[in-house]
């Protein structure tokens, strides 16, 4: 393991990030993506030290605004903010009185008046983060907007691959399952293409959106041929309500044809790694035998990388924050 970076090194690495908001993985060019990953990589080492705290974001306020509940992503952002020295406030408008009759914009404008510096937003509607960014004075980070994007997830996935393989460029990655409803898939296709990986999308036709063949990804409907020779198999979560005859006939039929087990995984390249954005439906899209094998599964690493990747995004955006008039 490399020696953990000191504060000065991290500061020196913090480059002037050109974007005010982080809404879409498609906003990043190859250089920006590589720099973010480099910065995040340093934070991984920092996070393994007993003293994890920096003061890069000292005095800053990070507001987590989660219209859709998510323990995992919210705590990841919370930790990321705290480790950088920011004050972090968690808001769940759904459960607070704030939501009653108030629109997304009203809520955001109200919170904006409290002068947060960074607003982390998750919402069930595609485009919600972009809409918010037009109405508030702070930086907006998209923590998932409907079926559109989840760019920090793509970043942490790329970081996990980078640490496992030493590179992302040149890898072949199969994203498997419910691509149709997945913001993780959309962000990953975009970022992986930017980073020079080859992407395949694998799933039943009912779960692959029309026109996805023009995203810069190969489409496969058969899991075995879809993961043949790939370096990374990224499984997506299949929502329970989508299994009961609407888009696939049943969970057991889905697992039989598109669920990943050790036998099907044999089609992938030797040394292939398995990923999943979580939370997993064990026995539906992935077999526990595969998910829990530390030699092939990167799933726990992904969670760890999540904090580092989000620290990199927060630090980069904060670096270009200025006092508001």
């Amino acid at each position: 393991m490399t020696t953990a970076l000191g504060l000065e090194d991290v500061r020196a690495r913090t480059f002037p990030f050109p974007h005010r908001h982080f809404i879409s993985a498609a906003d990043l060019n190859a250089v920006q993506a590589a720099e973010l990953l480099e910065l995040a990589d340093g934070f991984v080492d920092l996070n393994r030290q007993t003293s994890k705290k920096l003061d890069l974001l000292k005095g800053r306020t990070v507001m987590n605004l989660f219209f859709e509940a998510s323990t995992r992503t919210q705590s990841s952002f919370e930790l990321a903010g705290k480790r950088l020295g920011a004050d972090v406030v968690n808001m769940s408008p759904r459960s607070s009185s704030m939501s009653k009759g108030e629109t997304l914009i009203d809520t955001a404008v109200t919170l904006n008046a409290m002068q947060p510096d960074l607003l982390v937003v998750r919402h069930a509607s595609s485009g919600a983060a972009s809409l918010l960014s037009q109405k508030v004075g702070c930086s907006v980070i998209n923590a998932g907007d409907g079926q559109h994007e989840h760019p920090t997830q793509a970043l942490l996935d790329a970081l996990s691959m980078r640490r496992a393989f030493g590179r992302v460029s040149g890898l072949t990655v199969a994203i498997c399952g419910d691509v149709m409803h997945s913001r993780v898939a959309r962000s990953n296709v975009s970022l992986l293409n930017t980073l020079g990986a080859t992407v395949r999308l694998v799933g039943p036709p009912t779960l692959i959106p029309a026109g996805a063949d023009r995203w810069g990804a190969e489409i496969h409907h058969d899991l075995r041929s879809g993961i043949a020779g790939v370096d990374v198999v990224m499984m997506l979560r299949l929502q329970l309500e989508r299994m009961q005859g609407a888009l696939v006939p049943s969970a057991r039929e889905y697992f039989r044809f598109w669920g990943l087990d050790r036998e099907k995984l044999a089609a992938a390249a030797p040394g292939a790694k398995v990923m999943h954005p979580g939370p997993m439906n064990r026995g539906v899209e992935i077999d526990s035998d595969v998910a829990d094998d530390p030699n092939i599964s990167l799933i726990q690493n992904q969670v760890e990388m999540g904090v580092a990747a989000r620290m990199a995004v927060l630090a980069s955006l904060a670096a270009r924050l200025e006092n508001r008039p």
Binding site: I105, S125, S126, L131, R183, G211
Partner: protein, 433 residues
């Protein structure tokens, strides 16, 4: 109100969709009607006591007839009232509007028809004609009182944006309406495929993660409607054809003699799905904006006459209904004030001859619902628009008259400024400056 003095419009570019004339000329307006039409540039021998208006080569054409206008009256007057809609229409050179029945209460009862006509009379600006609901409460189950509503003054029946799903109801509706000679307008959209959709299925919508509908949803319902129309001998207006697949079915229907007419909205002629851009909710329409191929096919369809009528599909939605995430935002766009200049774009691009464009927004809709307007002929009502065809215009939504400002044309550069609008010989709009 005092009787206006007879007026003579001279040195105009007359565009008459009935005779197909597009050339120099002028006309005399007296007692609310067109008294005389002169083609050419000789205006000798006009009576002395006429008020002469020199048009300086501007286009003088029949006022527009818009078959699809929503207001919020009754029930949602904050969106738009009959008065504000009529003012917007006058400013846009639209002299007749057909208001849609999906109000609160719905126009499914002769008393509501009466109410609207009375309110419109009080406003006294442009002609307002109500369309009646085809089914009670627009629920698609029981027929509304089509005969009584027609007597009260309805010009056609429709369930507006809600497709009539039950084919048996549709069949009976068409047969029954046919016996009164009432036109039925129906929005062809398969309700199951369209459920929840905010965009057209394809690469772009998938990238944005928006719920989407394939264009065949339009074709599927249109094919059913055409078959039922053929079976019953009714007159059908296919309300807002938007895509190549729909046009293909329409062509086959017309070729085999089905009594079908079709409208296209100016929005679907002017924009494609990419105008949604970064989730611009002013481009959230129902039916959703289509692919560019579909838009091109629609313009060709208008050029060859497959599309009979162009409508504004004026749908006011206040800011609070539009300042929402895309799929939650209210669909629809206002369009009364931008209809004419937006339509003229196809004249300036030399895609469609001027007289043909004007016909689709005047004579064609007028004939469809039995109005005498839409013509420049002695004896026809003096519903007129005078328009400087070449005048540049940058649409500024905030300066539009409509109470709601949801115009997708906001910021667009168009050409064509309405100088004057006349309804029954009365000047109802005159451009300032």
């Amino acid at each position: 109100m005092s009787k206006p003095r007879p007026q003579a419009f001279i040195n105009a570019r007359l565009v008459d969709p009935e005779s197909g004339y597009d050339g120099p000329g002028g006309l005399v307006v007296a007692q609310g009607s067109i008294a005389e039409v002169r083609k050419g540039s000789d205006f000798q021998g006009l009576s002395e006591d006429l008020q002469v208006i020199d048009c300086n080569g501007a286009m003088l054409a029949p006022g527009l007839v818009d078959l699809r206008v929503k207001t919020g009256e009754p029930g949602a007057e904050t969106k738009e009232t009959l008065k504000s809609a009529a003012q917007a229409a006058a400013a846009g050179g639209v002299t007749s509007i057909v208001v849609q029945p999906d109000t609160d209460p719905a126009v499914d009862d002769p008393a509501v028809v009466d109410f609207i006509l009375r309110r419109a009379r009080d406003v006294e600006l442009v002609h307002v004609y109500p369309a009646g609901a085809a089914t009670k409460g627009l629920k698609g189950q029981q027929m509304a009182e089509i005969g009584l509503m027609r007597e009260a003054g309805c010009v056609y029946v429709t369930d507006v944006d809600r497709p009539i799903v039950d084919s048996k109801v549709m069949r009976r509706l068409l047969s029954y309406a046919a016996s009164f000679g009432v036109l039925v307008a129906h929005r062809p959209a398969d309700p199951w495929l369209s459920e929840g959709a905010a965009a057209t299925e394809g690469e772009f919508a998938a990238r944005l993660g928006l719920p989407s509908v394939p264009t065949v949803a339009e074709q599927i319902m249109l094919e059913r409607d055409l078959a039922l129309c053929e079976l019953t001998g009714a007159r059908l207006l296919a309300d807002q054809i938007t895509c190549a697949a729909g046009l293909e079915s329409l062509r086959r229907g017309k070729d085999r003699g089905v009594r079908v007419w079709a409208s296209a909205s100016i929005n679907h002629l002017s924009f494609n799905e990419l105008d949604i851009g970064d989730y611009r909710t002013f481009a959230r329409l129902d039916p959703p904006l289509r692919h560019e191929d579909d838009r091109q096919a629609l313009i060709d369809g208008l050029a060859e006459g497959l599309i009979d009528v162009v409508v504004s599909a004026h749908t006011p939605a206040p800011a609070e209904d539009k300042r929402l995430p895309f799929d939650e935002a209210a669909p629809g766009a206002i369009g009364l004030e931008t209809l004419l200049p937006a339509l003229l774009a196809f004249h300036h691009d030399e895609r469609i001859p001027l007289v043909k464009l004007i016909r689709a927004a005047t004579l064609a809709p007028a004939q469809l619902i039995g109005l005498k307007t839409g013509r420049l002929t002695a004896g026809a009502p003096a519903d007129l628009v005078l328009c400087d065809l070449g005048a540049p215009l940058i649409v500024d939504a905030d300066r539009l008259i409509s109470k709601s400002k949801n115009s997708p044309f906001d910021g667009r550069r168009l050409q064509g400024q309405v100088l004057m609008t006349l309804v029954d010989g009365r000047i109802v709009h005159r451009a300032t400056e």
